[in-house]
Subunit: 200 residues, 2 copies
């Protein structure tokens, strides 16, 4: 099969960042494309009853140690941001605004935001902060600020988040490959095996 891999993520998730540094390479090795799909996990948690990992006793401490360790294993930079969890609303809307115009550039924006937030530890809450990360891509800050206020863009983010919940997404990163769901950056290994073998 050659259907694209659906890659659901929230900019607030360090594991989403780690997955974002790997998923395109994995897909490419197996002749696949990836559909990048930022959503807001806050809406998902209302349905699933879960809480952000960083707000959970014990699990938050684990994450603070595990995410940088995982990053070292992958050889990608990670700097824990001073301010967590990130509210990824502006960044997610910026993605969907750009995706309607230039999907390739939207993906570059997502990577730039992830890198700025989790690679460099910078806050990415506001439209200005997102625009700063997007600057090197030739994205105009005023266009971006206007774009994320567009009702069509706001609706798109809501619709993608709702559709994710309908498809069973309960966390991030979350991958759907040929109808098979895989949750977590630590499942990239299985995603790759699934692609290599065509299932098992």
């Amino acid at each position: 099969m050659t259907a694209p891999i659906d890659f659901y993520f929230d900019f607030a998730s360090p594991y989403g960042y780690l997955a974002a540094t790997q998923i395109d390479g994995i897909a490419e090795r197996h002749g696949r494309k990836v559909r990048w799909c930022p959503i807001l996990l806050g809406a998902v948690f209302k349905v699933s009853g879960m809480k952000p990992v960083m707000e959970q006793p014990l699990r938050g401490d684990y994450l603070s140690h595990d995410a940088p360790r995982f990053a070292r294993l992958l050889g990608v930079p990670m700097t824990m941001p001073a301010k967590v969890p990130l509210n990824g609303l502006a960044a997610s809307r910026a993605y969907w605004w750009l995706e309607g115009r230039d999907p390739g550039k939207a993906r570059d924006l997502a990577k730039a935001v992830y890198h700025a937030h989790w690679g460099e530890g910078r806050d990415m809450t506001t439209a200005d902060q997102v625009a700063e990360a997007a600057g090197p891509l030739g994205i105009d800050a005023a266009d971006l600020a206007a774009g994320i206020q567009d009702p069509v863009v706001k609706d798109r983010l809501r619709a993608e988040t709702d559709e994710a919940i309908r498809r069973g997404v309960f966390g991030a990163p979350f991958f759907i490959v040929d109808g098979e769901a895989f949750w977590g950056a630590d499942r990239l290994h299985q995603v790759e095996q699934w692609l290599a073998r065509g299932g098992w």
Copy 2:
């Protein structure tokens, strides 16, 4: 280093079962021993604020599909039990009772209980059911029933669970290797890499 790997698990967890089929082999390949340590996740969840996965909307459905898929990948049998989640109190106490007498046999008991529950889908709630799984190991049912009522054994299970929480265990399976914590059967890959490289 040659310190044993601490392997925390709850008999109620299918991922604990999957890990239990792998961890000794991984340790052996790297000259390590494993300290098997059944605990009661219910007590852990009281601290962490988490709920059993199977009781979480969306996540429960994922687990029902994912755990058997993971088992197929590992080539181990899995039959989803009709009755979940298991109350692993009797099985866990039986383990700690036997561990004080014959640690090797206690491990065999843990494997037998896991296999009966997750490999064959049998209920393992009662002392009688645990004794039935333990029968082929030459463990006397009356001894086992008396053992799990021993206050020393009850205290041991409580103490091991408390110690797990103190060490940051918030789910199962959970591995501690040279002071490094890894959560989840999907991290066995990283546990093995950690052992092979001596860290990274």
